[in-house]
Amino acid sequence: MLLQKSAKERNPLMNRHSISDTNILLYITFAVFVVMYAAAIIFLGSGFLKPQTFFSILNENAALIILSCGMSIVMISGGIDISVGAVTALVCMSCAVNLDFNGGSVLTAILLALFVGLMFGLVQGFLVAYLEVQPFIVTLAGMFFAKGMTTIVNSTQFNVVHEGFQKLKSTRINIPGMGSYNKLGIVVPAYVEIGVIVAIITVVVLFMVLRWTKLGRNFYAVGGNSQSANMLGINVKRTKFLAHILCGLLAGIGGFVYFLHVGSGSPSHASGAEMNAIASSIIGGTMLTGGVGNIIGTFFGVLSLSTIKNIVSSLGLDEAWWTNITVAAMICLFLLIQSVVLSRKNKNKL
């Protein structure tokens, strides 16, 4: 009789709503971002008070947000993709050449961008998922390949003059009520670029995909333990394949958004973007070991990272070397906070 106690009585812990690792990391990121931005407003003043400062961060990072989303997805599924930066450069260069030299239109450029991204996703995904080559190496090779191909397509940098594209590029979406007076006393409206809209749509869509679709959940399962996932009846290979395809596709989209922002092709575009994407994802609470992560977190990860850089450039440091050292110190601080909170949480759990 006494052995028939209900499950709930027997385990006092089970009613406690437990925050998953994914969520706690997201909260940390969000909290630190808000605190950081608030501190910047208080201590560094003027610039950070203007809404446009925030929108500029979005404008500058729209592409990175998209790339980071793709990165988060492969990381959640237990992989990594370090080719995204180089693919972005390749996309920019291909689109630029297509528009200016090959008589392309905006539509063909978009299709080309998607195609390039998709091809990288397909090939890399195939190698990773079906031939079981380590993702780091596959995508490292992918990065080399994209770098080389960019200069094979065109070795110099140039601004695109194509008219339709220029129109698209200079389209700005003004945000009502957020403008500010400039030096001459004229109101400058606050604005975001088209890329930001694309980025936000991407974030929302991917958030939903990861949260509610089977595919999205499969990414988590495969990243958490691919062997188990296989035995739970999930097609692990296909899931990994799709993760890379998605990441490739997002690199294509991100590449085009980058292109739209800078309006030029250059072999040095987006160099090092993969590291920023990885850092943003991780700051946003995605684990390189797979199975844990959140797109909203990634979004705030990107914002945090660039806010850090913005703060550093507003600090008025007098020697050049302080810039990078300060950025690094702030990333370090950020990661430490994350780590300490996480370990506290795990301790309480026990």
Partner: protein
């Protein structure tokens, strides 16, 4: 296909490098039967199941399923699920980063969306009906291994299936859970589901099964109707020889330990650990075998982990041979001659990619010191000795431990701790997943070690086993030590009563 057969496997062979895991095995499962698959550790039971469910590709043979003509090809667990085979694997195969509910439904729901509300409420219902102490929204990794096992079972039995496979599902369950599981199995059987049941508990086989297939060394020994095969014969079929007499196991006379005055080998006073157990007192004497018993999750493991320093101790004192000692990490305990065989073999025991040899010598090597590695020959000698002693089935001592069968992995870990020649040996579920023959061997070994003057703490979910080997039982409930039984109090009834908390 035979009449009434739901699944037929013919001439199945599977080879691993250096190992013939399955050789020309036939297996038939009928509608509405519970079919036991029996055999020693490493006989090939799990391999047969993995071949059937597409985890491994077979090297030869055919599989036929009722409802599809000709032989079917099952290339992945996904295919198997689609055909209507639902499986609980021996090693828990769930995703630790997902919630309990999600683990129960992922990979088997229709449609491409996840309805969180729906799966949470349904999982809640299912968990409640099976009495599983977990909430659907908990992250799986925060559940105990037993709960995980039950979640895996819940997932499998909830599936619409023709064939249900249970590979040692009961190894970490207590009697209550087991009987619940059996009720479930009988329900499903009534509905015409064919069930393959792998276990090392003979009683359980005779309780629920209709038919038995015995494997030995990867080969089919035969298929028997349960009534035709008495236990003794079954055992000899499995082992290929007669079983040593169980009654030969006789624990030391317990009276001598009652009220003894000598200094305990190990003594803990108000010991507390970060794992949230109530402070407890504990002592063990030279040559004694004692045990912790209690319900699932009552904190037995946590107690011994605290003793070994596996969890951080947060209070209390420890005396070893009467002298005060500090154990803050496992190495301290090891240096004091304490060894601990953890209950979760996959997570805490094996070092998967390392060879059997390296796994065996690991603990001794660590104690010997960083700068004094064993020579290859020496390590080889140790490994061979224990492979022989415990009859570990492995292609060679170079084989990575993860490719051994579950039971043999357990033996390797046991070998590791025996090799380190401890004064005080803690065994948390050492017989989990071990075949009947070896189980007896291990119990004997425990008593032999005790007779040699070693102290042993023995934890097992099988009261029987505890009863047979321990001279003193510490009973736990709700993470608290609630009693101690010894001498004539040590009866099945008394134990059950104390566990339940009745007076």
């Amino acid at each position: 296909m035979q009449d009434g057969a739901i699944l037929e496997m013919r001439g199945i062979s599977k080879y691993f490098p250096g190992v013939r895991a399955l050789h020309d095995v036939d297996f038939t499962l009928h509608e509405g039967e519970i079919h036991a698959l029996m055999g020693e550790n490493g006989a090939g039971k799990s391999t047969l199941i993995k071949v059937l469910t597409g985890v491994y590709s077979k090297d030869a043979g055919q599989i036929c399923i009722k409802g599809s003509s000709g032989s079917v090809s099952i290339r992945s667990p996904e295919d198997a699920q689609k055909i209507g085979i639902s499986t609980v694997y021996q090693e828990i195969t769930l995703c630790p980063n997902l919630t309990v509910a999600e683990n129960m439904y992922i990979g088997r729901t229709k449609g491409s969306l996840t309805h969180w509300k729906k799966i949470n409420t349904e999982a809640g219902k299912l968990l409640d009906s099976l009495g599983i102490p977990a909430s659907p929204t908990m992250q799986l990794s925060s559940c105990s291994i037993a709960v995980q096992q039950m979640v895996a079972i819940a997932r499998a039995v909830d599936m619409e299936c023709k064939v249900l496979i249970l590979d040692e599902p009961t190894s970490s369950l207590d009697d209550q859970e087991v009987s619940k599981l059996f009720r479930l199995m009988l329900d499903l059987k009534a509905k015409g589901v064919g069930i393959i049941f792998v276990t090392h508990f003979l009683d359980q086989v005779y309780e629920v099964c209709d038919r038995i297939t015995v494997l030995r060394d990867g080969k089919l020994v035969g298929e028997y109707v349960i009534g035709d095969l008495p236990k003794v014969q079954l055992v000899s079929k499995m082992l290929g020889k007669e079983l040593d007499d169980l009654s030969g196991i006789q624990k030391n006379a317990d009276e001598i330990y009652v009220g003894r005055t000598e200094v305990p080998v190990f003594e803990a006073i108000q010991l507390k650990s970060s794992a949230n157990i109530k402070p407890f007192d504990f002592a063990i004497y030279r040559g004694e075998v004692n045990g912790f018993t209690g319900l699932l999750g009552s904190g037995r493991s946590e107690c011994v982990r605290a003793i070994f320093g596996a969890d951080k101790t947060t209070g209390g004192t420890i005396r070893i041979d009467g002298k005060k000692a500090r154990i803050s990490k496992p190495l301290d305990a090891m240096k004091h001659g304490i060894s601990y065989l953890p209950e979760d073999r996959k997570r805490d025991g094996i070092v998967g990619d390392l060879s059997v040899r390296e796994n065996i010598i690991l603990a001794l090597q660590v104690m010997k010191g960083f700068f004094r590695p064993f020579s290859r020959a020496q390590a080889e000698a140790f490994a061979d000795e224990y492979i022989k002693l415990l009859d570990i089935k492995t292609a060679s001592s170079d084989t990575p431990i993860k490719s051994l069968s579950g039971g043999n992995q357990q033996k390797v870990i046991l070998a590791r701790w025996l090799l380190s020649n401890p004064v005080y040996l803690i065994l948390d579920e050492p017989t989990r997943g071990i075949d009947i023959g070896t189980k007896v061997e291990i119990q004997k070994l425990v008593l032999k070690l005790a007779a040699e003057g070693k102290s042993i703490t023995f934890i097992s979910s099988e009261i029987d086993e505890m009863y047979r080997t321990c001279s003193r039982l510490i009973v736990m409930r709700d993470r608290r030590v609630v009693g101690e039984l010894r001498g004539e109090d040590l009866t099945q009834n008394k134990i059950m009563a104390t566990i339940a908390g009745g007076d």
